[in-house]
Symmetry: C2
Subunit: 206 residues, 2 copies
C-alpha cells in the first residue's frame, strides 16, 4: 500500500537557502527520485548545462508550450520565463518515484492545485536576511543587481511561508538535513486519493 506510489516533494526558499546542499546530503537515503528540471528562457550561467540544470529555450518556444498547455506551472521571475513540463513528472509518478520540485511560492500553489493529495511542501530559509545577503555575496556568481532582486524576492516569499507544510531554518546544515530527510521519507507514505477511493470501494468485501 505504501510502495510504488509516486509522490511529490516541493522545496521552496530563497536562492542562498542551501536547498542544493541539503539535497546532496540526503539524496542517498530517500529512495528513487526524479528531480524536476525546469524550462527557462533565461541565459545559462557559467557551468549550467541544458537538460541538466535547466532546459534552456527561447521565449518563442516557451510561449508555444504555454499555448499547448504543456506546463504544470509557469511563471515570470525577474523578466524570465520559468516552467515545469507535465510529461516527465507524470512518467516519474507512474514509476513510483519521489518527484522533487525546486520551485517558488507561485509554483507551489500550482503544484498543490494539481497534485495536492500527494504533495508535501517545505520552505527552506536562511536564519536571517543578513545571513542570506552574506551567502549571496560570498558566492560571487551573481551581479549586485541580481543579488538585490533575489533579496527582494526572498522578502516577499518569506511572507508566504505558512502556506507550506514544513519550515526548515537552515542554520546548521546537519540538523537541517536530518529534518529534511525525515520529511522526505514521510512524504513517501502519502497515498493518492484515487488509490484511497479504490481501497474504500474494495474494503467491504462481504
Amino acid at each position: 500500500m505504501y510502495e510504488n506510489n509516486g509522490v511529490v516533494l516541493v522545496l521552496s526558499g530563497p536562492s542562498g537557502a542551501g536547498k542544493s546542499s541539503l539535497l546532496n546530503k540526503i539524496i542517498n537515503d530517500i529512495g528513487e527520485c526524479y528531480f524536476s528540471i525546469s524550462t527557462t528562457t533565461r541565459a545559462p550561467r557559467d557551468g549550467e548545462e541544458d537538460g541538466v540544470h535547466y532546459y534552456f529555450v527561447s521565449e518563442e518556444e516557451f510561449k508555444k508550450d504555454i499555448e499547448e498547455e504543456l506546463f504544470l506551472e509557469h511563471a515570470v521571475v525577474h523578466g524570465n520565463y520559468y516552467g515545469t513540463s507535465i510529461k516527465p513528472v507524470k512518467e516519474a509518478l507512474s514509476e513510483g518515484k519521489l518527484v522533487i520540485f525546486d520551485i517558488d511560492v507561485q509554483g507551489n500553489t500550482a503544484v498543490n492545485n494539481r497534485l495536492g493529495d500527494i504533495t508535501t511542501s517545505v520552505f527552506i530559509t536562511p536564519p536571517t536576511l543578513s545571513e542570506l545577503k552574506r551567502r549571496l555575496e560570498s558566492r560571487a556568481t551573481d551581479s549586485q543587481d541580481i543579488i538585490d532582486k533575489r533579496i527582494n524576492m526572498a522578502k516577499r516569499e518569506i511572507q508566504r511561508m505558512s502556506e507550506y507544510d514544513y519550515l526548515i531554518v537552515n542554520d546548521d546544515l546537519d540538523i537541517a538535513a536530518d529534518v529534511l530527510r525525515q520529511i522526505a521519507k514521510t512524504a513517501r507514505i502519502k497515498i493518492p486519493t484515487d488509490r484511497v477511493n479504490e481501497f474504500v470501494q474494495n474494503w467491504e468485501d462481504i
Copy 2:
C-alpha cells in the same frame, strides 16, 4: 526551532483497527507524549479505570461542561456523550509534548478547526471489513449489538478516510508500526503558525 513545540497527532479508525497495539509498539521511540483522555457518559467496561481509560461522568456533568465551553470537541456516539477537555491539552502543548488523540472522524474535524497548523492526522484501518468483524468477534468483550454498531460506524467512517493526512492499513503489525513511527516523528517537525509569524517578523534583522 523544531524542539519544544507542542504538536498534535490524531489517530482515528474503527475499534478493532489496532490503534492501541500500534501505539504500544512505537511509544518509546517518539519522545514525550500526552495521551488525551476522553470524558464520557458511558458505563465503564470491565477493567476500565476512571482517569486512566476515560473520565467517567454523568450526563448532567457533561452537559454542564458543554455549556461552559470546556470541550475542545464533543460528540454523541451510540447514545453516549464523548468529549475532550481543553485544559490538559493546552498544558501538554505548552510543555512541548506530542498530544495524541484517539478520536472519531467528527473529532478530527473539530481538532483540525482549532489546532490544524500543528495537527497530523492518521486513519488506521483493518485491511477489510471481514477482517474487522473477525477481530471484533474474537475479542469477545462486546455484545453482538455493540459489534454491529461498531461495524456500521466503521462503514461510515471509512468513507471519510481521505480527510486524513495519512492512511495506515494495519495488515502486518510491524509494517504498520514502522509507518506510524515515521509519521509521529515527522509530526514533531510541524511549527505553529504563531511561531512561524514570529520568525518572519524577526527575519529582516537589518
